[in-house]
Amino acid sequence: MAYSEKVIEHYTNPRNVGSFAKGEDNVGTGVVGAPECGDVMKLQLKINPENGVIEDAKFKTFGCGSAIASSSYVTELVKGKHIEEAMTIKNTVIVKELNLPPVKIHCSVLAEDAIKAAITDWKSHQTPASAQEPRKAQES
């Protein structure tokens, strides 16, 4: 399978590989898998509880080059975004950016799902009063 240039670029030089230290505050972790191929992806987001903005992101993905490139790309994409905006990121953006062929679309879906899973995980650790609805909190 011929990978696109951008996939190869992310694959050979992946951004933000790794994990945040265990027990670090304000980190949401999403672990998702693609049962068709058996690949597993972990995405971690560091989210500011004051304003709900994603400040940092790290990933660990093994195996498939497109999944590695997809997760590398989304770690860059989500930084600086509000979580509600990040929740709306669609895999099609990734497919377009990385030029993924049809058989590799599920790899980008994995990255989209990982973002959602990480944010959902982070929310589940927050107290309702703090960051879940930061904008409303500011208004009142």
Partner: protein, 219 residues
């Protein structure tokens, strides 16, 4: 009902004509191609026997001197039979085919990996990454890591065996259930998906280990 092109006999779809033995095969699902009931539990000995039996009766050699249409039919029926046999022989691919046959997608609503399994995947992958680094250095560390990864591989194979047993149990439940729609059926679909996914994650991990240990040996 379909009609045999050779003798015009009308009959239920099957691999070869009940009257004249000409190959048919059009529009069959893979269970029907083998003349098996749509059940997930399959006796391997019976499967072998049926496959070879049917294969002989529709073999292209038997139709070499017949019409083009019959020769064609024999080739197509043979290809279908082979695909049916290969798909249904392995319980994992049989389960995947079953999902497809019933209109389900393995990945739908099925992205989360059981926490203990995910942890294991990441641990083993770390070990493999370490092994890749150590391989270029002096021998002792690489040797130790290789042993550790090899142990993991044995453990993973055991887990796959466990998964296969769960699969057999799920198959039996399907067959007992009778296929009516409703909550019971949905639960069986989900259970089947989860077992198949678990096996997929384990197989991928073993594949990665095999690759690493083999290339470690070659180095």
């Amino acid at each position: 009902m379909i009609k045999c092109q050779a003798c015009d006999r009308e009959q239920q779809p099957r691999l070869l004509c009940a009257q004249c033995g000409a190959p048919l095969g059009a529009g069959l699902d893979l269970f029907a191609a083998l003349g098996l009931p749509r059940k997930l539990t399959i006796d391997p000995a019976r499967l072998e026997q049926t496959y070879h039996d049917l294969g002989r009766r529709i073999h292209p050699d038997r139709f070499a001197s017949k019409s083009v249409r019959l020769r064609d039919a024999s080739l197509r029926a043979t290809a279908l039979l082979t695909r049916a046999y290969r798909t249904l022989r392995d319980p994992v691919s049989r389960g995947l085919y079953w999902l497809e046959l019933n209109g389900h997608k393995l990945a739908d609503n099925n992205k989360s990996v059981p926490a203990d399994l995910a942890e294991m995947v990441f641990e083993v992958q770390e070990q493999l990454a370490d092994l890749r680094v150590a391989r270029d250095g002096s021998g002792g560390e690489a040797e130790r890591l290789r042993g550790a990864v090899d142990e993991r591989r044995t453990e993973l194979h055991r887990m796959i065996e466990g998964g296969s047993r769960e699969l057999v149990q799920n198959f039996a439940r399907w067959d007992a259930h009778g296929g009516a729609n409703g909550a019971g059926r949905d639960a069986l679909v989900m259970e089947l998906k989860l077992v198949l996914s678990k096996i997929a994650y384990l197989r991928t991990l073993i594949r990665d280990i095999d690759r690493e240990l083999d290339s470690a040996q070659a180095a």
